[in-house]
């Protein structure tokens, strides 16, 4: 499903020395990270450590106060740069944020049709296929209010996919869901990962992280404390802060 790489080598998303301030407080304090093509990066860390801020910087929803963000080797800075870049970097939010005044189908097709990713007919056909795969074809003409949280979140994932993005960012996609619907959303994400989609996922689902992540990023106080493969991070972390955090949640 992911596009053929524009540049075969080099990371899809790269951040260097990124700083984000709210007043005097540094929500991000010099963050460096690369996301390679086809890689699944899971971001964990305590509440307020800057995970959301970090992931929002990856598609320009937060304007950085220092450092730079590069997409496919191209530095992105102006508003217009970001607006175009966002077509290639999808995002799924905790609160799904479907547009309540549009049907599921219109929610999915709005952006790709506007951006001419395909004609309306092509886009609707593709949307139907994707909805079928997440088991929601029968909801295509319903409004979001008629869907459960888990169903809405799956639609939100399809909506992001409809842009044919090179990467998708997930900010706690299951945190607002009832426990019984978390699994259905995680299943869709696992399948995406298997197909080689580039993903950055902020989550508290450590099972998901262990199973799917290529690398786990542990953040604390606006910094990346440790990056490594899940086996290492979860079993023998180098840093004490990582240890402390993992002990707290397990």
């Amino acid at each position: 499903m992911p596009n053929s790489p524009a540049t075969a080598e080099g990371p899809v998303i790269s951040v260097r020395g990124v700083v984000k301030k709210y007043g005097n407080m540094r929500a991000l304090d010099g963050v460096d990270a690369d996301v390679s093509r086809g890689e699944v990066v899971v971001v964990i860390g305590p509440s307020g450590s800057g995970k959301s801020t970090f992931i929002r910087c990856l598609n320009g929803l937060e304007r950085v106060d220092g450092g730079r963000v590069t997409i496919d080797g191209m530095p992105i800075s102006t508003r217009r740069d970001w607006q175009v870049a966002r077509r290639r970097i999808g995002m799924v939010f905790q609160d799904y944020s479907l547009f309540p005044h549009m049907t599921v189908m219109s929610n999915i097709c709005l952006a790709p049709v506007r951006a001419r990713v395909g004609t309306r007919a092509e886009t609707e056909e593709r949307a139907m296929e994707m909805l079928e795969r997440v088991g929601l074809a029968h909801k295509a003409n319903d409004f979001p209010a008629a869907l459960s949280g888990g169903q809405q979140q799956r639609v939100a994932i399809v909506r992001a996919l409809a842009m044919k993005p090179e990467a998708i960012l997930f900010d706690e996609p299951t945190s607002a869901l009832d426990p019984e619907t978390i699994g259905e959303v995680l299943a869709v994400m696992k399948e995406l990962a298997r197909e080689g989609m580039t993903m950055v996922v902020v989550t508290h689902e450590m099972g998901f992280a262990r199973e799917v992540a290529d690398r786990v990023v542990f953040m604390d106080k606006g910094r990346i404390v440790e990056i490594g493969p899940p086996e290492v991070i979860f079993t023998s972390p180098r840093e004490d802060r990582t240890k402390a955090f993992l002990e707290m949640i397990f």
Binding site: R86, F99, R114, M128, N141, D142, F143, A145
Partner: protein
């Protein structure tokens, strides 16, 4: 009744002027409301401050003072306005200020995550506005806007203060003339009729917008939606 039939042509002229006043005022107010309302939710702090200053200034002045101020103030800066012009301009400025506030709070009532997720899809700023925010802001805007419209229609009677020959003014003339000629004042009858006419206009306006509102909210909460891609399953759910 006799009296009203006798003076019907005059009343009709008055009513016609009132309608003209109202139409121009409502159009002017709406244009200003949308423009300043959107400025009120703009990214630029300068635009927001401008909108806020405008809204606060005109909302805090009684409408009647506003009318007199424009009518008598305009010549001082070299513009001469006829009563009709002065009335429509001052009503529109006042209506626009109140309407801008309604539009602004309509947009503010749309949850922030709606804008964020629209932006994250790579939509252009105007597309975010047009396809995502405006349709959701419309529903909370309609009821207070209807209220503003009937207020403005009623307020057109204030144009008589600067001598515009509108409905209220003509009925006043009828009362005065009849009183002078017959020694008996038909004020109760004539003003009763005036009241009835304003009531009919404003009531039909709110009935009309009530219907618009219901059809809008029905459309937004309807379960069926656009029957496009998948005919067989459309009725299966909920």
């Amino acid at each position: 009744m006799q009296l009203i039939i006798e003076n019907f042509p005059l009343l009709l002229t008055g009513l016609w002027h009132t309608l003209q006043l109202a139409i121009v005022t409502l159009l002017g107010s709406t244009v200003i409301s949308v423009a300043f309302g959107l400025m009120g939710v703009a990214r630029s702090g300068v635009l927001r401050a401008t909108s806020m200053a405008y809204v606060e200034f005109f909302r805090d002045i009684p409408l009647i003072v506003n009318v007199l101020f424009v009518y008598f103030g305009a010549p001082l800066i070299g513009i001469s306005l006829d009563p009709f012009g002065a009335a429509t301009i001052s009503f529109s400025l006042w209506g626009g200020a109140n309407g801008a506030e309604i539009v602004r709070s309509g947009f503010n009532s749309v949850p922030l995550h709606q804008e964020r997720s629209a932006v994250a899809l790579g939509l252009k700023p105007w597309e975010v506005m047009w396809y995502v925010l405006a349709p959701q802001a419309l529903l909370p805007i309609i009821p207070p806007f209807t209220g503003l419209f009937s207020l403005l229609i009623q307020a057109t009677s204030l144009a008589s203060m600067v001598g515009a020959m509108e409905f209220f003014r003509t009925s006043q003339i009828i009362v005065e003339r009849t009183t002078m000629m017959t020694g008996y004042s038909p004020a109760f009858l004539v003003y009763g009729f005036v009241l009835l006419v304003y009531f009919v206009i404003c009531a039909s306006l709110s009935a009309l917008t009530k219907r618009l509102e219901t059809s809008l909210s029905e459309r937004q909460s309807r379960r069926g939606g656009r029957k496009a891609a998948i005919p067989q399953a459309a009725n299966e759910s909920i």
